[in-house]
């Protein structure tokens, strides 16, 4: 596999994850059940649905979906609910796998800002 092949594969996976987060896939499922209208426009607005409202992150950053069958009542037009926003804040970035420690010995590199 070439580096570009690998990039393409990873792109696809990441885009699928974001699509789930945005509720696009969940909205499509809901639409097929006749309970919501799928409206994919250039501004990415889709009617909020029970399924899209169930897309969330867990604390490890893994994206999962839940079709709860419940309406949330948060809103009807934006493509993310207030609940999404709260969930996203949990999954923004992960701390390093090993603690950051101070050192007084010679350094390999420097981070001075950009």
């Amino acid at each position: 596999m070439t580096h570009n092949d690998d990039l393409s594969r990873r792109n696809g996976r990441i885009q699928r994850l974001r699509a789930i987060r945005r509720g696009v896939l969940g909205t499509a499922v809901a639409s097929s059940l006749g309970i919501a209208t799928l409206l994919l426009t250039g501004t990415a607005h889709a009617t909020s649905t029970p399924a899209s409202a169930g897309a969330h992150h867990d604390v490890t950053g893994t994206t999962t979906t839940r079709a709860t069958g419940r309406t949330t009542g948060h809103h009807t037009t934006g493509h993310r609910t207030a609940r999404h926003h709260k969930a996203h804040r949990v999954a923004k970035a992960q701390a390093p796998s090993t603690p950051v420690q101070s050192t007084s010995t010679a350094t390999h590199s420097s981070s001075s800002g950009s």
Binding site: R89, A95, V100, S110
Partner: protein
């Protein structure tokens, strides 16, 4: 190929050069691989430049074809991810905004020139950009700038590329955006934090850690008589308030670290609590030079 990340006793070797008006540094744990690692990093950065440099007329970001390369898609995807997880504190649709405040060419040329424009354009909004696979839709009039994420992602990918092809641990530093991959030196990767306006400190990080510093003291210029800097608050279209001179963050990748450090600059007073909630080690240098740290950032020697 290096797969293990255990510390290795070694003497590191390093090389640096200039790209994008900043310094690239490559450090390897196996000195005999330095030439090959340097070549891989150079080639990767050249590909990124052709894809994402908005100051090149032949770049994809200037042409915005309907079908973009895998590399451009990866970088745009990272920028959209950054916008998504920060609720728009970072937004790749600030291209026209940056042009409006005079950042319309390489920073060395901006600094040498005299800008007379002072056009404030809030970002049109990242949700207007649609990327599906390699298929791109950008509304007319929307200009992209991936500067908030491209260096960090390029550092991550270049380090990973070199460590996957060569028997060495690799650190790639792109102007303060630092990515590591493969085996670590026996005492970890030791990084000096040299933020403007505060005493320098140094940290030691483990395998695969990314470190990024965002600064309001760098890439500054005068536009229509007003001193401005390059970190834009997309909500207003103006440079972010200078609550912090610099914010340094460590995370599991350079991209994640840089998203957090840049968003922290835009967040201003709310940044320490925001970083703390995410458990991120972070060091913030305030406008008066005082330093704040999150609880996972180590105490500093005095």
């Amino acid at each position: 190929m290096s797969t293990a990340t255990e510390p290795v006793a070694c003497v590191t070797a390093a090389r640096s050069w200039s790209v994008w008006s900043t310094t690239v540094e490559v450090v390897v744990t196996a000195p005999e691989t330095l030439d090959a690692a340097t070549a891989l990093v150079r080639d990767h950065l050249a590909e990124v430049d052709l894809a994402a440099n908005r100051f090149r007329e032949d770049s994809e970001i200037r042409r915005l074809p309907r079908n973009v390369s895998a590399l451009f898609a990866r970088h745009l995807d990272a920028a959209l991810h950054a916008a998504d997880v920060t609720d728009g504190l970072i937004d790749p649709t600030v291209g026209a905004t940056l042009r409006g405040i005079g950042y319309d060419q390489d920073i060395t040329l901006v600094l040498a020139g005299t800008n007379t424009r002072a056009l404030v354009h809030p970002a049109p909004g990242w949700t207007r950009v649609r990327l599906t696979g390699n298929s791109l839709e950008v509304p007319a009039g929307v200009e992209l700038d991936l500067g908030a994420t491209t260096k960090a992602l390029a550092a991550d990918d270049a380090a990973e590329l070199a460590a996957s092809r060569l028997p060495t641990g690799v650190l790639v530093n792109l102007g303060g955006d630092i990515a590591t991959a493969g085996p670590v030196p026996d005492q970890g990767w030791r990084i000096r934090i040299d933020a403007d306006g505060s005493a320098a400190t140094a940290i030691c990080v483990g395998a695969g850690t990314g470190v990024a510093t965002s600064s309001t003291r760098r890439r500054r210029w005068t536009n229509a008589g007003v001193e401005v800097h390059h970190i834009i608050d997309p909500r207003t279209g103006s440079p972010a308030a200078q609550t912090w001179q610099a914010v340094t963050v460590a995370a599991r990748s350079c991209l994640e670290a840089n998203i957090a450090s840049t968003a922290a600059i835009v967040l201003g007073d709310r940044a320490p609590a925001w970083l703390e909630r995410q458990g991120l080690p972070a060091r913030l240098v305030a406008a008066d030079g005082s330093v704040r740290r999150t609880t996972t950032w180590p105490a500093e020697d005095r």
